[in-house]
Symmetry: C2
Subunit: 197 residues, 2 copies
């Protein structure tokens, strides 16, 4: 039986972008199915007293992260344009990702949002930007309105509660067979684990 | 000309242990010289309001780190025995590392301390443990007393000030040609960078 890997991502997260751009191809090569799991880090950070990204709270760590991202994007052939402001508000995008997942287009939509945000430096809280991503993922425009339905709002709340129950503390995170892996640096280990169970 | 790579390590740091165990061999294979740079994270953490390791301050991150270390040690064939208490007080060990470096035995002594701390779970603030590490590194017992000389105390203070000037915020960190790389996960990238300049 092919393994499954949960991919927990947050749209504001720079390293989630890196994983989103390569996870589907890497998983497919190992016969693993990716479960796209949007969630919000805000409530998790708030619970430990953080009001913004740790990359803003800790400036040296922030300066390092931006340079690290530049280097990694060069090595992976990705254009990189940091969004302003950072972090972006990914609430609408995360709700849309749940609708896109129901429509079988999670990977395409999520990647399109990340490209807009981190390759083009666009504002992903802007509905026009999201509509463009929606179209690029081949999704029908009338499906977009579902993102504001109470059921989707509740579903995103439950995603974040599930992330907390899984003891997630950052993004990207990967879960397979009860094992948690954190960070784009652990994607290969997570895939190996998923393949082994 | 062969490149040089600064290896900034803190004895309390779990991931510094992982890098210390493999950096010399990996660097030698690329013709790179390792500069062993002990420093203390305490003052750097204190400057941002932290009174202990972030792995203690943020329990979910701490739980993850211990499991991650277990998995990595298994994959690298390293015995793993977390020290108690964590973090260990590495002040004496860091001063001794400077003396050992002057004597040309930094790598051997530093690895011996890390093995005592993280493979055997010993207390590295214990002078008897450090004397054992000193002997294992082939260093003369009478050299040990130099670690309490004012010049060495000053030298360690200056190491930590230099780390802050380099914008370091954690360990292990690697510096080559003005580029900073953070974390055992970036050792290969740091070596590649050092080899390219």
């Amino acid at each position: 039986m092919a393994g499954r890997l949960q991919f927990w991502f947050e749209f504001a997260s720079t390293y989630s972008f890196l994983s989103a751009m390569r996870i589907e191809e890497a998983a497919t090569a190992r016969g693993i199915t990716v479960e796209w799991q949007p969630f919000l880090l805000g409530p998790i950070f708030a619970a430990q007293g953080w009001t913004t990204s740790p990359f803003n709270l800790y400036p040296a760590k922030g300066r390092y992260m931006w340079r690290d991202m530049e280097r990694l994007c060069i090595s992976r052939g990705l254009q990189f344009h940091p969004p302003d402001p950072f972090p972006q508000n990914g609430l609408k995008a995360a709700r849309l990702a749940l609708v896109a997942r129901d429509a079988g287009a999670a990977a395409a939509f999520v990647r399109s949002v990340y490209v807009s945000e981190f390759c083009l430096g666009q504002d992903i809280s802007d509905s026009a930007v999201l509509a463009q991503c929606w179209a690029e993922a081949g999704l029908s425009p009338d499906l977009m309105t579902r993102a504001t339905a109470p059921a989707i709002k509740t579903a995103l709340f439950e995603q974040t509660a599930k992330a907390q129950a899984l003891d997630l503390f950052g993004a990207p995170s990967f879960v397979a067979g009860g094992e948690l892996f954190w960070g784009d640096d652990r994607l290969d280990e997570a895939l190996n684990w998923a393949a082994s169970i």
